[in-house]
Amino acid sequence: MSITDLDYYQQAVLLLAGLIGLTSFLMLGQSRLVRLVWIFGLQGLLLAATTALVAAVLDSPHLYISALLTFCLKGIVIPNLLNRQIVRLGLHREMDTIEHPARIMMGGAALMVFSYYVSLPVIAQSQLVTLNAVAVSLAVVLLGMLLMITRRQAMAHVVGFMSIENGLFFAAVVSTYGMPMVVELGIAFDVLVAAVIFGVFFLHIRSSIDSLDVDRLSRLSEAEEK
């Protein structure tokens, strides 16, 4: 089956999936926090666009609600919240050093391939669109984890965490046309509360270790007395 056999709707979903995957790679290579958050917001907007598209094609009103929710939360509220924190904590000039950027990118590409491999059982009974969507969403989840592993800034960890959530949401929208409304509302609520708690935490970490560098969080370990 080649890509020209698909109708416009499916092609559009594939395009959006590709763009969402791309934003994950952009985040992986971005060392400035403000831009990192900005790209994260972009990913949220793309996600909202995907949801709206699916809603339009399937004509299901409840997906419009979740598109609106994603647009507001992931596209506007959370990025703004994070950016305000960055400015307030004076982190907007700082660069987060990324060690071995080339290797990290290669690792990211490997994760992408791995996600396609893992999703293979799914194609057996579904069409091309679903395969790509599930694979890309799994890749976004894994790339989010890679982002968290490679950074030291607590803020970058939060962005990675939130982008994992984006990947999951994408999987839910494209492969199953949205979870039941109750669940989506619940997830949105959890994400919002998490964002607020993260904000509180930045202040705590800042006031207790004087920096947001999580490498300095190393008091608790199994090692014998220091």
């Binding site: 893992v118 607590a154 199953t176 109750v182 509360v193 969080l217 008091r219």
Partner: protein, 488 residues
């Protein structure tokens, strides 16, 4: 069904009232009252299920059967006794100035928030809502772990938040895959995420997708159970938070996460028709059991010691559920009860012991029996019980696990015995000097409330001597539900 609504409404109301209650003593009493009422409601509910069978709420979102109703009752019971302990404990922490009144309000409000999340995990019928509630439990407790605002506690809370957040995201992916598989089956429509529907149509679900989903679900909820190697957050969160929090985390949260895994396993087993899910659980469970038993030897902090002991016991339960025969399932259910009663009792005594010594470091805690016999004996008996000595209930349940393993996987029994022996040695090498020996100068007895400890240990003793008929009945019903057969 009114009982279920009551159980969910009570903590919600408690959360709101306690967020506004400025008087800390009154807040402690309101907390006890809310939990007491919830316990009453859960007992009513349990009797209802026992007599009239499983119930589904009209909107199909809540479901009660013999498996979750007994966990609801256990949750409510441990919630109540811990709240009885937490009143004076937190008042003492307030007096010595470790926390202010605003944070105390946060504490009480989130205590109820946590109870609400736990009840919702247990009673909901939708796998999606179960995930939401589980994440809610993390959010409710994360600020409590950092309640003291020391650098250590902030670090522990951050670790807890990030690890559990990322871990449980995997469970959401698993849930989405589950929904995806269910949507392929004709005629399920929007109900495809309801557990009752999934369980009924399990045979029609695509096995390869479900196997993939189960891996994600096990890793996700397994992070919350504290399975090795996803356990890193657990000892930190237990040791740095306030002690009542450790008691309910160990006694309740871990159980409920395991409950979620077992629910998923029931669906996956129906679809796969083989033992893959069970094998995965057995592997993870055995690894956690052995690794945690070894780590017991290396601890220097008393709360970390007992949190590793929790990992060990959760590993054993996961293993037993993985074995999956009616015997093993019965044993796992029984072990869930005895462990959660004993462990919360131990954390209560540990709380008193560390308040008494002014530290959580075990080399500074000495001669408890001489300074305050009640605390010393409480700790000694609690540890004897958790290490699996007869005649306590933990012995009976561990013995059952052993017998069940011998039946199906005889070659694994030496490993189990080795683990139990290692854990026993690990606990006692630390316990001996803390309880006996000379007390350092200047220790004065504190006002201790050992009523919850005595009730819990008496119950564990009773369970070790004889399982009451109604409880045995419950366990039997739940076992038939999970493994499709009766133990005897």
């Amino acid at each position: 069904m009114i009982g279920v609504y009551l159980i969910l409404a009570l903590p919600l109301a408690g959360m709101a009232i306690l967020a506004l209650q400025r008087d800390s003593r009154k807040a402690g009493r309101i907390n006890v009252l809310c939990n007491g009422l919830a316990l009453a409601a859960s007992v009513w509910l349990a009797l209802d299920v026992l007599w009239r069978g499983p119930r589904l709420s009209p909107g199909k979102l809540l479901y009660i059967d013999s498996f979750n109703v007994y966990l609801v009752a256990l949750t409510a019971f441990v919630g109540l006794t811990t709240s009885i302990f937490s009143g004076p404990y937190m008042a003492h922490e307030r007096e010595i100035g470790r926390i202010g009144s605003r944070r105390l309000r946060l504490y009480y409000s989130m205590y109820q928030g946590f109870m609400l999340a736990m009840y919702l995990v247990l009673t909901t019928n939708s796998m999606g809502v179960m995930w939401v509630a589980m994440e809610g439990a993390t959010l409710a407790t994360v600020l409590l772990v950092s309640l003291y605002r020391t650098p250590e506690s902030v670090e522990a809370a951050w670790k807890y938040f990030i690890l559990c957040g990322v871990g449980i995201a995997q469970a959401l992916f698993g849930t989405i895959l589950l929904y995806f598989a269910a949507e392929q089956v004709q005629g399920l429509g929007g109900d495809a995420l309801l557990w009752t529907v999934l369980h009924e149509h399990a045979a029609a679900l695509n096995p390869s997708i479900l196997a993939l989903a189960f891996v994600f679900l096990l890793v996700g909820y397994g992070t919350k159970i504290g399975l090795v190697p996803l356990h890193q957050w657990l000892p930190d969160a237990h040791s740095e938070g306030p002690t009542p929090m450790s008691a309910i985390l160990s006694g309740l949260l871990l159980n409920d996460a395991l409950y979620a895994v077992v629910r998923c396993k029931m669906v996956v087993d129906g679809s796969l028709g083989n033992h893959t899910a069970g094998n995965l659980m057995m592997g993870f469970g055995m690894l956690s059991f052995l690794v945690a038993a070894l780590f017991l030897h290396r601890q220097s902090d008393i709360k970390r010691l007992f949190s590793y002991s929790s990992i060990e016991h959760m590993g054993l339960m996961t293993f037993a559920f993985g074995v999956g025969s009616p015997w093993a399932t019965f044993a796992a259910l029984f072990h869930m009860t005895t462990h959660s009663l004993t462990k919360s009792a131990i954390f209560v005594t540990v709380g008193h012991a560390s308040q008494l010594a002014g530290t959580q470091r075990m080399d500074k805690i000495r001669g408890l029996i001489r300074t305050q016999p009640a605390v010393g004996w409480g700790l000694l008996i609690g540890t004897v019980a958790i290490a699996g000595f007869p005649p306590f209930g933990v012995f009976a349940s561990e013995f059952l696990v052993l017998v069940a393993t011998m039946q199906d996987y005889p070659w694994l029994t030496p490993l189990l015995l080795l683990g139990v022996g290692t854990a026993f040695a690990g606990l006692f090498r630390h316990l001996q000097p803390m309880v006996y020996g000379d007390a350092p100068e200047g220790l004065r007895p504190i006002k201790a409330n050992l009523l919850p400890v005595m009730i819990h240990l008496a119950l564990v003793l009773w369970l070790g001597l004889a399982i009451p008929a109604f409880l045995g009945d419950w366990f039997n019903q739940a076992t038939r539900l999970i493994s499709g057969g009766l133990p005897l």
